[in-house]
């Protein structure tokens, strides 16, 4: 079984997927379709898209929508527990993270200063909530730098991808974002970032490019 991840050539919202595929030990490659030329060839006209191929290379399964792909891989490879209650507590954090990203996007897509400022205000409020929640989970979980259990979890991976996108990618378009985020990070979340980055399951991927952990504490 092999996977193809279709996305743009950038961090964006696909980083959690790259980390999950790496952590799963799966054979995977990435495609960067010509855009918007290839829009109509995607199930929902959007990316990311995940293609699952069987051993002989034939396509078995195609899914899209970032959260859906993340949960599919997480469940398949055991990064989300089978217990529905435990899984729901991880998934709800990721849903909140999605809304933070959406609010931030408003700063770019909205046309007037007032709407851009409101988007920024909402971004900060929701980001505070995410950081509060992550810090609480880490403390309740014994301050090991993990939010759930003793091993790398879906929520840990999604969080790392989230901060990587904000600090390394979004900051290129919105230069103040990296500082906003860094000033809000708690010691617990900083430890989360470094714990994920150092995890043997994802080191192959996190060691590429600049260290997020170093940037977060710079």
């Amino acid at each position: 079984m092999t996977y193809v991840l279709r996305y743009f050539d950038g961090i964006g919202i696909a980083e959690a997927l790259r980390l999950l595929l790496t952590a799963a030990g799966a054979e995977w490659t990435e495609e960067h379709p010509e855009w918007p030329l290839e829009k109509h060839n995607q199930p929902h006209g959007r990316m990311p898209v995940l293609i699952e191929k069987s051993g002989n290379g034939s396509v078995d399964f195609v899914i899209c929508e970032s959260g859906c792909i993340e949960r599919y891989l997480s469940r398949k490879y055991g990064f989300l527990p089978a217990d529905l209650k435990q899984a729901a507590h991880q998934e709800q954090l990721r849903d909140l993270i999605h809304d933070v990203n959406y609010a931030l996007a408003g700063r770019i897509t909205c046309k007037c200063e007032k709407d851009k400022e409101e988007s920024n205000a909402k971004f900060k409020v929701l980001l505070d909530k995410v950081i509060d929640e992550q810090s609480r989970l880490i403390k309740d979980n014994g301050s090991t730098g993990r939010m759930f259990g003793e091993q790398l979890s879906y929520a840990d991976i999604a969080s790392y991808g989230f901060y990587k996108n904000l600090i390394q990618s979004a900051a290129q378009v919105l230069p103040d974002v990296a500082d906003i985020v860094k000033h809000k990070l708690t010691p617990e979340v900083i430890k989360l970032i470094s714990t994920v980055e150092a995890d043997p399951l994802v080191k192959k991927h996190t060691s590429k490019g600049e260290s997020l952990s170093a940037m977060a504490t710079a």
Binding site: G67, R71, K76
Partner: protein
């Protein structure tokens, strides 16, 4: 062991909770709704937002509390069997639900934006993605044997989410902007109209859909 009972905390609105209400009804569990004083009760919610679902178990274990509307929907759908256990089949339902959530996000942006230009931007995105959604859903229904369902032959998670979604657009949004329901209606295909009617008529949902206005009537007039 009797089933758990539930409290759904939300505002007294269709809003983001309609699919949750449908799932609770279809699950045939005892549930009630709480409308917390807002914003006073904000700090008492896990993410400072609503909806929140409280599950009370008869064995005396502590309440199980979750939040985020899509997360609540997926949890109820999985626990009560409205989404298949097979991960690929479940993913196919989840992906259309995630698309619906994004379409609604653009509509929310349109309603909340201050300037006409921002409004036009969101409206454009909403309209384009809604058209994609309707195309994808219509194909699903056609590929599913034209039985008025997106998946399988009984009431599914994705069908309930779809009903809640169209109810938001056709009925809930009408008070903000009458053009929204008009536009949506102009884009609906007969298959979607049939989907809405099929869900509304499902015996599992009778207790809930018989209250308030009929969405099936609203889309066909």
């Amino acid at each position: 062991m009797p089933n758990p009972t539930y409290i759904l905390r939300y505002f007294p609105l269709v809003g983001l909770s309609e699919a949750c209400r449908l799932l609770l009804t279809a699950a045939n569990v005892e549930w009630t709704e709480e409308h917390p004083e807002w914003p006073q009760e904000k700090p008492n919610q896990p993410h400072g937002r609503l909806p929140v679902l409280v599950e009370k178990n008869p064995d005396g274990s502590p309440d199980f509390i979750i939040t985020e509307s899509c997360n609540i929907e997926r949890y109820l759908a999985r626990v009560y069997g409205f989404v298949p256990a097979d991960p690929k089949q479940a993913a196919r339902q989840e992906q259309i639900c995630e698309l619906m959530a994004d379409v609604f996000s653009y509509l929310s942006g349109y309603i909340r934006a201050s300037s006409d230009e921002s409004k036009q931007m969101f409206l454009g995105k909403f309209e384009a993605l809604l058209e994609t959604l309707i195309e994808v859903q219509t194909k699903l229904i056609e590929g599913n044997g034209n039985n008025g369902r997106q998946f399988g032959d009984s009431l599914s998670y994705a069908d309930m989410v779809a009903y809640g979604f169209y109810k938001k657009l056709m009925i809930a949004m009408a008070r903000f902007d009458a053009n929204v329901p008009k536009f949506v209606k102009s884009k609906l295909t007969p298959k979607i109209t049939q989907l809405i009617a099929t869900v509304e008529a499902d015996p599992l949902l009778e207790k809930h859909t018989s209250k308030a206005g009929s969405l099936a009537a609203a889309v066909s007039v």
